[in-house]
Symmetry: C2
Subunit: 580 residues, 2 copies
C-alpha cells in the first residue's frame, strides 16, 4: 500500500501521527522558505508543508508540477491558518519523505470544479475530467443508486438474471446494431435494444420476479443527449396486475428518494394519458408547478376574432405573478414561441392585473366578462399573465407545453431539489403514423390491450387503450412499462396490426409465440432509464455527465477514437466487403 491514510481522512485527532499519503498535486504555493502543496485523491485534499528545516526536500518539492503523482510521508501537525471549508482543514503534513510516483504534463484544462475546458476537450481527456469533483461525484452517486436499486429489489424477491447481448435482429422500433458472425458467414447477431423478449421468456420459465441493470443499444440518429448505448433497470413480474407493478416501483422510487434525499413522499398521483395531454399537452408532465391548460376554444370563438374562430383549439395557461411583464418581455416570449423549433404562429396575452382589471392583446374582441371567463378557465388569479396559443389541437398542445416549461424555467419553478413523481396510465395501444400510413406500437408490440377495449381491435384499433404506464419525474419519463400479451393468438394479431406478415412475425418472434403455447403466465413489467434517473435524482438533467465514458452526438468516443477502421484480415474472416 502506498498510503496509510487517504487525503480525506486526517483531522485534529491525528495530530502527532506519522502518516503516508499518495495522490495528485492539486496546487503549489511556493513562498520561498516554505512550500504548501494541496494533495488530492478521491477522498479529499490534504495540505502538505515543506520548509527550510529540510532544505533537500524543499528543493524536491519545488520541482513538482500540477497533477504529478506523489507519495509523501510526514507528521500530522496543526495548521497555523485553518481552512474550515474542508474536513482536513485543521491539519497539514510536515513532509520529511517525498517520492514522485509519476510525472505529469500540464493538463489541457484545469482540474477544478469549474474548469476552463470545453466539452470537446474534456471528452477527449475524459480520464482527466473524471478527476474533477463534479464528474467523480456523479459516478460515485450513480454507483450508490445502482446499489440501492439492486438491494431494494433483491429484498422484494427479484432475481438478477443476465440476459444475452448477442441476440437476433428484430428491427421493429429503432434500428439494431448488428454483429457479423465469423463462424456463420452472412449471418449476424444483434445487440439488444432491450432484453424485452428474454425477460418475457424468463416469466414463461417461472422466474416470477426478474431484475437486471443492463446495457441496451439503439442505432438511431443521435439527438443531443442521446447515447447509442444506455442503461436500463429492467424488471418483469408474473401473476400480477398493473396495480402490483405500480406499487412495487413506486416503492422503489420512494426508497431512493428517502435514502438519497431524506424525502418521505406521499403516494404518487396518477393521471391518464388522455388527461395528461389535456391538462399539460404532454405525456410527461412536470407537476412541480401549476399552469394547467385551460381550454378556451368555446369561450373564445364566435366573438369576431377571426384568427381564433377558424382554429381547432385555443388553449391558455396562467403564468403566476407575471401580469407585470413589460411589453418587451412579452414580445420576447412571442418571438420565442414563433421560433421554428416551437412553431406557433403568434401569441395572445391577457394581463390579469392586481386590481382585477384586464389588459390583453385582443381587447378589441373580448370584454371584461369574456376575460373573467378566460381567467376562470385557466385558473388565473389577479397578478397572473394568461398566455394563449391556437391552432390544430395536437401541435397547439405541444407548443403550449413547451411554453409552459419555458415560463416555469424563467420563473425558477423547476427546482432541482424538489421531486414530483406522477404515474401516467392508460396509454393508447397504437399510434397512427401518417408517414408510413400504418399503426405503430405506442409502447412495444408485446403490450396487451386492456381487456375491456380488446373488442375494438378489429374495428377501431386507434381507440384501444393498454395497461401501459410511465413513471414521470419532474417532467422526464424515468420509467415505463406495460402488462404484456401472454397468448399466442393475441400476439399474432398484434403483429398483424403492426404490419408484420405471418412469415416476418414467425422469423422474428416465432420463439416467443411458441413459448406462449407452453403455459405462459400473465405478466408485465417496467424499465427505468438509469442514466436519466440518476441525473434527475442528482438534481441535474444532462445524462452524459453521469456516464463514465459517453459517446458524442455523432456516436463517437473521441478519447479512444472509436469507431475505427479494422484490418482487411478481419473483414475477410467475417466475409464482408465495404461498399461505397
Amino acid at each position: 500500500m502506498y498510503r496509510t491514510h487517504t487525503c480525506g481522512a486526517l483531522n485534529a485527532k491525528n495530530i502527532g501521527q506519522t502518516v503516508t499519503l499518495s495522490g495528485w498535486v492539486q496546487k503549489i504555493r511556493d513562498l520561498g522558505a516554505v512550500i504548501f502543496i494541496d494533495l488530492r485523491d478521491r477522498y479529499g485534499i490534504t495540505q502538505l508543508s515543506f520548509n527550510e528545516e529540510n532544505k533537500a526536500i524543499l528543493e524536491e518539492a519545488r520541482k513538482l508540477g500540477r497533477e504529478f503523482v506523489i507519495q509523501a510521508k510526514g507528521k500530522v501537525v496543526e495548521r497555523s491558518s485553518k481552512n474550515n471549508k474542508i474536513p482536513t482543514g485543521d491539519i497539514e503534513i510536515l513532509v520529511d519523505e517525498l517520492r514522485v510516483l509519476n510525472q505529469a504534463k500540464t493538463p489541457p484544462f484545469t482540474i477544478e470544479d469549474q474548469t476552463d475546458g470545453g466539452e470537446e476537450l474534456r471528452m477527449k481527456y475524459r480520464y482527466l475530467d473524471i478527476r474533477r469533483n463534479p464528474v467523480k461525484n456523479n459516478l460515485i452517486f450513480r454507483s450508490k443508486v445502482s446499489q440501492l436499486v439492486r438491494n431494494y429489489l433483491a429484498g422484494e424477491g427479484f432475481i438478477d438474471v443476465e440476459t444475452p447481448y448477442l441476440i437476433k435482429s428484430t428491427p421493429e422500433g429503432a434500428r439494431d446494431f448488428v454483429v457479423p458472425s465469423r463462424m456463420h458467414p452472412g449471418h449476424f447477431y444483434a445487440l439488444p435494444q432491450s432484453p424485452q423478449t428474454f425477460k418475457q421468456l424468463l416469466m414463461v420459465g417461472g422466474i416470477d420476479k426478474y431484475m437486471q441493470i443492463v446495457k441496451c443499444f439503439r442505432d438511431e440518429d443521435l439527438r443531443a443527449d442521446r447515447q447509442p448505448e444506455f442503461t436500463q433497470i429492467d424488471c418483469e413480474m408474473s401473476f400480477i396486475e398493473q396495480e402490483d407493478i405500480l406499487n412495487t416501483f413506486e416503492g422503489l422510487t420512494k426508497h431512493l428518494l428517502k435514502e438519497i434525499h431524506g424525502l418521505e413522499l406521499a403516494d404518487f398521483p396518477r393521471i391518464s394519458y388522455e388527461e395528461a395531454m389535456r391538462r399539460y399537452g404532454n405525456d410527461k408532465p412536470d407537476i412541480r408547478f401549476g399552469m394547467v391548460f385551460g381550454d378556451l376554444t368555446q369561450a373564445a370563438q364566435g366573438k369576431g376574432f377571426k384568427v381564433f374562430d377558424q382554429q381547432e383549439a385555443i388553449l391558455g395557461i396562467a403564468v403566476p405573478g407575471a401580469a407585470g411583464y413589460t411589453r418587451k418581455q412579452i414580445d420576447k416570449i412571442t418571438d420565442w414561441v414563433k421560433r421554428p423549433q416551437i412553431g406557433a404562429k403568434g401569441l395572445v396575452y391577457v394581463k390579469y392585473n392586481g386590481d382585477g382589471s384586464f389588459k390583453s392583446s385582443v381587447d378589441k374582441f373580448y370584454n371584461h366578462d369574456d376575460l373573467v371567463q378566460w381567467a376562470e378557465i385557466t385558473g388565473a388569479k389577479p397578478g397572473d399573465l394568461i398566455l394563449v396559443l391556437s391552432g390544430d389541437l395536437t401541435p397547439t398542445r405541444t407548443q403550449l407545453s413547451a411554453l409552459r416549461m419555458e415560463m416555469a424555467e424563467q420563473l425558477g419553478l423547476r427546482k432541482p431539489n424538489e421531486f414530483a413523481p406522477v404515474w401516467v396510465v392508460d396509454f393508447p395501444l397504437l399510434e397512427w403514423d401518417e408517414e408510413s400510413r400504418r399503426f405503430h406500437a405506442m409502447h412495444h408490440p408485446f403490450t396487451a390491450p386492456k381487456p375491456e377495449d380488446a373488442h375494438l381491435l378489429d374495428t377501431k384499433p386507434g381507440k384501444v387503450r393498454a395497461n401501459a404506464y410511465d413513471l414521470v419525474l419532474n417532467g422526464n419519463e424515468i420509467g415505463g412499462g406495460s402488462i404484456r400479451i401472454h397468448d399466442k393468438a393475441m400476439q399474432a394479431k398484434m403483429l398483424g396490426l403492426l404490419g408484420f406478415s405471418d412469415a416476418e412475425a414467425k422469423k422474428q418472434f416465432g420463439f416467443l409465440m411458441d413459448a406462449f403455447e407452453y403455459g405462459a403466465p400473465p405478466h408485465g413489467g417496467l424499465a427505468f432509464g438509469l442514466d436519466r434517473l440518476v441525473a434527475i435524482l442528482g438534481g441535474q438533467e444532462i445524462i452524459r455527465d453521469f456516464i463514465a465514458f459517453p459517446k458524442n452526438n455523432a456516436g463517437r468516443d473521441v478519447m479512444i477514437e472509436a469507431p475505427d477502421t479494422i484490418s482487411p484480415e478481419q473483414l475477410e474472416e467475417l466475409h464482408l466487403r465495404i461498399t461505397e
Copy 2:
C-alpha cells in the same frame, strides 16, 4: 395480484384460511371421485384437492393438463397423508374456484429434476428448462453470488462504474466481435474482450477502487463449455501493491465461502508459478488432495533402463491406497495415458505394498533400495501406488497432471463440497510462441514486469517475471490479474516486445499511453470469471448450467435462432456486402 400466497408458503399454521394460488400444473392424480394436483411455482409445490362435493369443479380439474397455468382459490386443510419431503406437505387446498390462466401443449421433455430431455432439446426450449429446479436454483444462486460480491466490494469502498460496450478493435490476444457503424461507413466498433483499458483509465482518473460485473466478448473457435459472451467481476485499485490486491480478493472469496457454505477458511496458500509447475505440472493445481509430483530423473537414470536414460524428465506421483490395484486396473490406466488426448508413450508403476515390499513394472532395473528412494521422492507410503511418466519436461508435466486429476477423480478426492483455494503468483511476463516465433503476453500487454527483473527485458525477456497472480479454486482458475504498467515508455517497450510496430501501438493503444503522461498512479487489479466462480461455488463444473440463455458450441442460440440473416436494407445502410 393473481395470488395471496406462493406455492411454497403454506403450512399447518395456515389451516382454515382461504387462499388463492397461481402456478403450473406439475402433476395430476385422478382417483375418480377425487383429483389431486401438484401446483408449482418458483417457490415450491402445493397440493390442490378436488372432490365430488363440488362436481362442477372436479370436472373442470379433469380437463387440465401438465404445465397449464391456473389460479385456484380454496381453503387450507390438513392432509390425510402428509408428505414430509416438502415444506407444504402437511396441508392441501380444497379448491372451490378454478381458473385456467393459460393452456399448455405437452412439453417436449419432463419438467422434473431429472428430465428426459437431451441437451439440444433443453436449449431449444430453455424457457421450459428454466422451470426445472436444478436450472432455476442455479440462476437464483448466481443472483445471490452477484449480490454478495457487489455488497462486499461496496463495503470495501469500490465504486461500480459502467464502462462502454461499443469500443475499438484491439485484436491482441483473442479475436474481437465487431459492430459496423452506420453513421461512419467503413468504420467499426468492437465489443470489449474485457474493460481492461477503461478500468486503467479510471485509475488515471482517480477512481481508486473500481468494480463492475460486466459482459465480455471473444470471437474464438469455441471449445466445449466456452461461451462467446461471458461475465467478469472486474476490479482495479490504485496506490496498491500485489499484496493489497491479494488480501482484498482473498477477503472477498472468504466472504463468499462463509456466506454461501458457512465455511471459515484459513489464509490461502501461495505458490509460485514455477513451483506449481514443478509440484503439480499445472498452473491451476487442485490442492484438495496430495499426489504432489516427485522428480525421479536423477534417481531413476543410470540404472540400465534405456527408456528412462534418454528422457529429459522422469516424474512420479504416489496414488494413496492404490497398491492393491489389479493388473487389469493398471492396464486401464496405461491405456488412458496413451490416448491421443493425453499422449504419453507408456506408464511405469510401482506398488508399495502394505508389508513394505515393492512390486513394479521395472523390477528388472531397480532394486528395493532404489524403490525406497522413489517412495521418498514421491512421498509414497506403504499401500500406495507410484505412477511414473517420462519424456520431455513440459509434455510430461502436462500428462502427469492429467493423470493426477484422473486418479483423484477415480478415488473420489475431488469433493465438490470441499474448497481449496490457492494463489499462484510470480507468473512469467512473456511466453514464447513457437508458431508465430515471437513472445506473447502471458497475462496481457499491460502487465508490469517485476521491478527486480526489469533489467532482463532487453537481454532475456523470457526470464522476466511479473507481479501477476491467479486465484485457483479446486483446480480451476477463478480469477487472475496483475500489477499494471503505468509508465508510457515501459508500455511502449512492452508493446514492442510483443511485435507491435510503433504505428500499430499508437493506433490501438495511443490513448492509454497518452493518459500515462498525465499523472497515472501505480495500479493493478484482478478479474474473476463469474460463470465459472458461480459453478464451482455451487459445487458443479459446467458453466452453461449457470447461464440463463447460453450459446451452444457453435456459438448459436438455438432458442431464438441467432445469428440469423439480416435484411438487404440493413446491409445497405451499413455499407456492407457479404462475400462468398
